[in-house]
């Protein structure tokens, strides 16, 4: 699985994040206070304005400490009822329709159907739930204000903060219920679609070449647009090759003369690997000199670095926390290695590579462990605890090679002038397998977090904007959140084509992004205007949530466990945003006549 950035541990993240949150909150609070004072001073004079601002803060604090869970629960229930009145269940109907007809739109010949179907259901759920949250949260309060139904609430002893929080919680509850139902349906859908078995085509079974033991090879029937090669031992047991990301185990049942081959359900199809990634990766060039990166073989995507075969070039992965308790029998290495051939070579064979396990302190090493690289596949290479060194002496993994839980694994390509490409997450230890069901639940938790964010922003915008405008503002937040990096890069000027005004001119004049605008006063004005825009964009973008950070679809789709740290970071980030939008929403609602 591709990780373009290193995963962050919750413990490392929480304190700097908390500090940033407090700083941003203080700054925004101060700006809001000054802004509020200026507006009030303009309307009522400086003294009265000051008094108004002071009262606003004082009342706010009183309201905050006097929040009643009972009233919030009642208001939340109202929000739930309102959602039901607004036929929110239509969203679920649409979801069912999508599932029913998914087969029409999905690629039935995909080489990784699990990834495809899981990505599909999770993405479809995300967008449906987010859109539903958007409509519900942004339109509710303005509609109540417009229809004056808000007076049935504000005339009762409730505080504005409770109205805001009640709506956020109410919409979140209805969204959660919908998500839970969608989750169950999605799980059943994916499990049913991917569940299959094959039959061994008995006529295809042949004795394995150069094998005197009586082993056989053959193939299975074609099911769901794929078939497997079968390798059976002399007793008729064995397994299939990996096709479409899974394999089957084969057992033989004999009833007199009758032989029946039974294939297991697919293995490794719906899984949740818990990987132990390397803490560091360093390279050696062809002369054996150390470097941070390997060679670029001409790929635009610089994720992986390449090492040259038949030379001293190597990639060394450093692993921490290798203990006999975690790995009592063997080191379950899994790797995805990219192959780049600089000449055709022997097409029938993969490129030969080797792994060497090394003591990071003494340099003591195991003998070469060779393998043929399987490009684009996760290749398993379990390494026994008992090893031999290059001189043929027996060594023990933990006694001789692991020091303070640390171990180096050195990868080399052995075929002359052929290349291996790796990134840090490409070689890992499969520490254990977590429950796929739990992983699926965790992915829904990340969707829930996104829904909570959209709901919060929607309610916040609806406290001071009309329904349609609040919806547009929430949608803009969502879109900006999904393209945060791009918007930030535009704001920083690191993307060709200039800022928003310059881009607009280029689009209008059909001018490409690389040509210079004609020098002159107009261009100067445009660029100056863009600077203002870009400053604004840069600061607004910094404050908005990055929705891509809440996206855990890839983990589930590629069969990796979502790290608990990631979930915790997502939860805390969302709660921080909800707290912020609640506070903003409260103050804006306070400014409305209806809430006074």
């Amino acid at each position: 699985m591709v990780h373009e950035t290193d995963a962050i541990l919750f413990a490392d993240w929480i304190w700097p994040a908390l500090l940033f949150f407090l700083e941003a909150a203080a700054l925004l609070g101060l700006l809001a206070l000054i802004g509020g004072f200026l507006v009030a001073a303009f309307r009522y004079g400086p003294m009265a304005g000051g008094d108004t601002a002071y009262r606003m803060i004082r009342t706010g604090l009183v309201d905050f400490v006097s929040i009643s869970p009972r009233r919030i629960a009642a208001l939340s229930w109202l929000a739930v009822q309102e959602s039901l009145r607004r036929r929110v269940l239509v969203g679920f109907g649409v979801f069912l329709l999508i599932l029913l007809f998914a087969g029409w739109f999905l690629d039935s010949r995909s080489n990784d159907p699990a990834a495809l179907y899981l990505s599909f259901v999770l993405t479809a759920t995300t967008w449906l739930v987010l859109l539903m949250a958007l409509f519900l949260s942004a339109l509710s309060l303005p509609a109540d204000i417009k229809n004056h139904t808000i007076y049935t609430i504000v005339t009762k002893p409730v505080r504005p903060g409770e109205i805001v929080l009640g709506r956020i919680i109410g919409f979140a509850v209805i969204g959660s219920i919908l998500l839970a139902i969608m989750g169950v349906f999605s799980y059943v859908f994916v499990s049913r679609v991917l569940s299959h078995t094959h039959e061994v085509e008995v006529a295809s079974l042949k004795k394995a070449p150069n094998d005197p033991t009586g082993a056989q090879t053959g193939r299975t029937s074609s099911v769901l647009n794929h078939r497997h090669q079968v390798n059976l031992d002399e007793k008729g047991n064995g397994s299939t090759d990996i096709v479409q990301g899974h394999y089957h185990q084969v057992t033989t049942e004999r009833d007199g003369d009758k032989v029946r081959y039974v294939l297991s359900p697919p293995r490794d199809l719906l899984t949740a690997r818990v990987p132990l990634y390397a803490s560091g990766l360093r390279f050696k060039d062809r002369t054996g000199k150390g470097s941070d990166r390997g060679i670029n073989v001409g790929n635009e995507w610089k994720y992986r670095s390449f090492i040259e075969g038949g030379s001293l070039a190597a990639a060394t992965f450093t692993f921490d926390d290798i203990t006999p308790e975690r790995f009592p029998e063997e080191l379950p290495i899994e790797m995805t290695i990219r192959v780049f051939r600089s000449y055709k070579g022997d097409i029938e064979k993969g490129i030969l590579g080797s792994l060497v396990l090394k003591n990071p302190r003494t340099g003591r090493a195991s003998q070469l462990i060779t393998f043929r690289a399987k490009d684009f596949y996760i290749d398993s290479l379990p390494i026994s605890r008992k090893l031999t060194d290059p001189a043929g002496n027996s060594i023990d993994l933990f006694a001789d090679l692991v020091v303070d839980g640390q171990l180096d694994i050195e990868l080399q390509c052995l075929d002359d002038s052929q290349y291996f490409g790796v990134a840090k997450p490409d070689i890992y230890l499969r520490a254990r397998d977590a429950s796929f069901t739990m992983n699926f639940v965790k992915s829904y938790l990340s969707i829930w977090v996104q829904m909570l964010l959209v709901t919060g922003f929607g309610v916040m915008f609806s406290t001071f904007l009309s329904g349609a405008v609040a919806m547009m503002a929430t949608l803009a937040t969502l879109v900006m959140g999904f393209f945060k990096q791009f918007v930030f890069d535009v704001a920083q000027g690191s993307i060709q084509g200039g800022g928003p005004i310059e881009s607009f001119i280029r689009i209008f004049k059909q001018q490409n992004v690389t040509t210079q605008l004609e020098p002159g006063l107009t261009t100067d004005v445009v660029k100056a205007g863009d600077q203002v825009f870009m400053w604004f964009m840069s600061h607004v973008t910094t404050l908005l949530p990055d929705f891509r950070h809440f996206d855990d679809v890839d983990y589930v789709a590629h069969g990796f466990d979502i790290p608990p740290d990631t979930i915790l970071i997502q939860l805390f980030t969302a709660l921080a945003y909800v707290a912020a939008v609640f506070a903003i929403g409260y103050f804006f609602l306070r400014t409305r006549e209806v809430a006074r």
Binding site: V2, F101, W104, F105, L106, D107, R109, S110, N111, D112, A115, L116, S119, S222, N225, R227, E300, W301, Y303, R338, V339, R341, K344, I347, E348, G350, I351, A373, K374, D375, F376
Partner: protein, 522 residues
Amino acid sequence: MNERQRFTRKIVYACVIAALLLPLSWLSQPETTESKGGMLAQMRAANQLSQAQLGEIDPASETIKLATLGMRGVAANVLWTKANNYKKTEDWVGYSAALEQIAKLQPNVVSVWIFLGWNLTHNVSVEFDDFHDRYYWVIRGINYRQEGTKYNRDSPRLLSDIGWTIAQKLGRADEKVQFRRLFREDDDFNGSRPLAQRDNWLVGREWLMKAEQVAARGVAVRGERPVLFHSHPVMCLVNYAEDLEEEGTFGEVAKNAWRKAAASWAELSNRDLPTLSNVFVRLGDKEIYDERSKKAQEELDRLATADLKEKFKAEKLASLTTAERDAYLAPADRRTTQQNELLYAVNDKMTIGHIDLAERVPGENRAAALKAAEEATFADMMSNLINIERDVVYYHYWMLRCQIEPEDSTLEARKLIFEADRAFTAAQLVKASELYDQGMKKWREVLDAYPALLKDASTTDPLVDSINHYRSVLHQLDEKFPKPFVLQDVLEADATFHGLPLPEGEQGSEAPPSGDAAKASP
């Protein structure tokens, strides 16, 4: 604005909308059994643009188009961008899923199927190291385009592209040996097709012929010269026969394959082919036009006296500038560079056209001379046009190959060299040496009978590879490379084609041995 004004305004809007809808409804009336429908329906039918005429009506495609709510272009752009990003980051699952969706959004844009199918067969497949994976993606690309034919059943370009890909990608790639083997074993692609027919060239030909059938119904073939378009199925048979021999199948099977190829070339020779000059020609008619031209020129020569020709030539010479005349009259070996540059234009000026000559014929012969001149000019033009088309498809060479390959001597020569190469690979040096000796002698006979074969590297390249193996065998047996060598002319021709010098001591000053000399060597 009061309530009444608002109501009035709504009524006005409704009336305007209804007024606009009426003509629209009239224009877009659907076609029924009783009527031809509105103008839009008629135009759709006339231009064969209705979905039913283009291909299958796919509910998935229609749904996805409808779901984009008129933003199909934007959606397609977003998907193309996503697909490019997936390709960059090597996410092939996402890439192929995006391709499927793009195709569903734009099912009737043939170039989308071709372009994206090409991406799968040629660009994605090579990203994988294992040839099984490569084969999988090649077939994915072919299947993708086959899916496209459901929506565009009358596109000769798409059908031809499928045939070309099955034939050429599987039969010409670096992994062609493995691809052809996997293709024969591929029950999922071939279905119930008999094993003998499971050859990429033959299956590719089936699709190419489907394209020809569609073209024969009057659908224009765009983007490809007609002679090339029609030569693909013929060349499939040639390549099939070649690959049979390359894989060690000789005898009657190979002979029949070559005969079929020859018959197919003969068929192509008699097909009316449009040319770029909007004139239809037949590849096989060149000799007929040459004969007609010859006869007409003889008649013209009879009517126009030698004096007349000389006089005409002298006039033309006199009309040249001094520099042009000097260039024209100078002996070839003494012409300066400048004169050589001038010569092309001068020769053009000095050429005496048939019509020009006929117009100078005096008296009662003039009319007959003009008729003969017109006939000669027309026949020359047709001959030239045919020649151009013949050159495009390498007509002479392939006709010659199809003629000689089924002959016993050629088959025997190829078989001996094939077996020698196999013995060489198996390190059976003595056997290889003997087989090479016999095979090269046989090749000598073939080349003596058909020296034109030496004009093409397709003949010499594989032979030179085998000669190099032979050289290696002799070296390992501690024997010298024979001189004179029986296929010396092959080595020389190869050196000329590739602009390389012959190995030290193998420069053949002697003429290529033939007849008795061949018997003495190697």
